[in-house]
């Protein structure tokens, strides 16, 4: 079951509940260049941004069946950048008209001792990977094209191997709850990337 509709939650101060709207697809390695060119044309004019990130996913196992998941991410190519901690809720189901996957999302920046802190709290690292790719932006939409690398020796981010011959393409928007027209904008943008890439909402539970 999902969380109650976020708009019903009492707001007693603090941050607004942000939802992440997500569309995912993939592109094969040999078509990456054409996709990058197309994105450079479609997206906001900025220097092409590449990134290398190391993401670790932490689980907190309670009595209940499903553990609590937090994602910690750090940059491998930008020295001094803060770590990033993210919580993603269960996708909100039910609305077939909604074109994107919607889930609750909380993001914070942290300092480098994040892993120690999470360990103290009782989290255990479930898996980690290295993501290497490009970042584009169009308005509030963020388009990330990256390749996932499996880490062969735990903790060693140099010894990696690509997971597949494709790049994952994600179109995401983080917006306050209740703004469903965002998903329409996302779908229109996704139309422009066809037939190179088919961005669609993929339910991760289906892939379990």
């Amino acid at each position: 079951m999902e969380a109650p509709p976020v708009t019903m939650m009492p707001v007693t101060g603090g941050t607004i509940n942000m939802m992440e709207y997500l569309l995912q697809g993939s592109v094969l390695d040999h078509s990456l260049e054409s996709l990058i060119h197309r994105l450079r044309g479609l997206c906001d004019n900025m220097e092409p941004e590449t990134f290398v990130d190391h993401e670790m996913v932490f689980l907190l196992k309670g009595q209940q069946a499903s553990p609590f998941v937090l994602r910690a991410r750090r940059s491998l190519d930008r020295a001094g950048a803060p770590w990033h901690l993210r919580y993603l809720g269960q996708p909100e189901m039910g609305d077939k008209n909604r074109h994107a996957l919607v889930r609750n999302c909380v993001d914070i920046a942290t300092s480098e001792n994040l892993t120690d802190f999470l360990m103290e709290m009782g989290f255990r690292m479930d898996h980690e990977f290295v993501a290497r790719g490009h970042l584009f932006r169009k308005g509030i939409m963020k388009i990330v094209v990256y390749k996932i690398f499996r880490i062969l020796v735990p903790g060693n981010t140099d010894n990696t191997e690509a997971l597949s011959l494709s790049y994952l393409v994600e179109l995401s928007v983080v917006a306050p709850a209740g703004q469903d027209m965002v998903s329409d904008d996302m779908r229109n943008f996704a139309e422009q990337l066809k037939p190179l890439v088919h961005l669609e909402k993929i339910d991760p539970k289906r892939l379990m």
């Binding site: 809720g89 898996h127 499996r150 991760p204």
Partner: protein
């Protein structure tokens, strides 16, 4: 009589216009062939042929039209033949027939084909009659079948070549890869799942009452969240961890307060399928260790865990690491629970 005359005139007019169109398109085609032959492309030639064939078709339709009287029954008889130039005729024929004379008439008013051609036609008809009706029918059928086969093959080739041209471009993504990547990002399928060697701290699942976990090794402790199996009795258990008193050595003390369902502020339907996690409020910054004494505000990391029977909200207070050289570095994280 008059009606027939009118019909004749009307059909003649239609025929005239059709023929004029045909003549024009033929003329333009010839011009194109003669003058632009070096720039001519096959599709343009095909276009001209298509135009001609369309016009011939309409001509045929006009002739077959029910309102057209049988021209076969009409006879054209030359009345006057003269070797003089006839201006009227010149005008009407656009300068092609200047004289209505003996040479012109047999060509223009011809109704039967040339004698040689007539001979050949007669030959062909006798041959056809000789074969016999059944054999002829069979031949017709086989011809039709072969033609349709050929047409099918051609159209299939055309369709395949079209899509074949697209196919190398089409494979820009692989749906199986998409699923694999999404699964990897969502829950780590295919990535090496790493577990720390020897998870320390006893795990006590499902114990009613308090679970006490001693602080032992550095760094690895498990927070106990005891869920009460029966929701009638609210339980309050505090778990206090001992602190290792050595300076310069880690660990954190964690106080866990576990409250139970009946005091939960949210009235919501309980789910039977899977438990629900809601992160109430996480905000703040963990500053760099060197500036801990600076403003540091971490509001709670408060989880509201809702299993099917019991609601437990856990609020944590953590006293963090003592670092050597920073005696005043005690980070107090105050709980704030919505």
């Amino acid at each position: 009589m008059q009606r027939e005359e009118k019909q004749l005139e009307a059909s003649l007019d239609a025929l005239l216009s059709q023929v004029a169109d045909l003549k024009n398109s033929l003329g333009s085609f010839i011009y194109k062939l003669e003058n632009e032959y070096d720039r001519l492309t096959w599709p343009s030639v095909l276009d001209s042929f298509a135009l001609l064939s369309g016009q011939l078709n309409t001509l045929n339709k006009v002739l077959k039209h029910e309102k057209t009287p049988l021209f076969r029954n009409q006879v054209i008889i030359p009345l006057v033949l003269s070797p003089d130039r006839d201006e009227d005729l010149m005008r009407q024929t656009e300068g092609r027939v200047p004289v209505f004379s003996h040479e012109v008439v047999p060509d223009h008013l011809r109704t039967k084909p040339d004698p040689e051609v007539e001979e050949q036609e007669k030959q062909l008809t006798t041959d056809a009659a000789r074969i016999g009706a059944d054999a002829a029918q069979k031949q017709i059928q086989s011809l039709n079948k072969m033609c349709s086969n050929l047409l099918e093959k051609i159209s299939k080739e055309e369709r395949e070549s079209e899509s074949g041209g697209l196919r190398p471009n089409k494979q820009t993504f692989n749906p199986a890869d998409t699923n694999a990547l999404v699964a990897a990002v969502a829950f780590g399928k295919g990535l090496s799942n790493w577990r720390p060697a020897g998870s320390s701290g006893p795990s006590q699942p499902g114990q009613p009452g308090a679970g006490t976990v001693l602080a032992g090794t550095s760094g690895l402790q498990q927070v106990q969240m005891a869920g009460a199996p029966n929701q009638q009795q609210p339980m309050l258990s505090g778990v206090q961890m001992a602190q290792a008193g050595q300076p310069g050595k880690m660990p954190s003390g964690i106080k866990t307060n576990i409250k139970s369902a009946s005091m939960h502020p949210y009235q919501r339907p309980r789910s039977r399928t899977c438990p629900d996690l809601r992160l109430l409020h996480v905000c703040g910054e963990l500053m760099d260790t060197r500036s801990w004494t600076a403003q540091l505000c971490l509001k709670s990391c408060a989880y509201s865990v809702l299993p099917e029977m019991v609601t437990a909200s856990v609020s944590l207070e953590a006293h963090c690491l003592h670092r050597p050289g920073f005696p005043d570095s005690s980070l107090a994280i105050s709980p704030g629970c919505r």
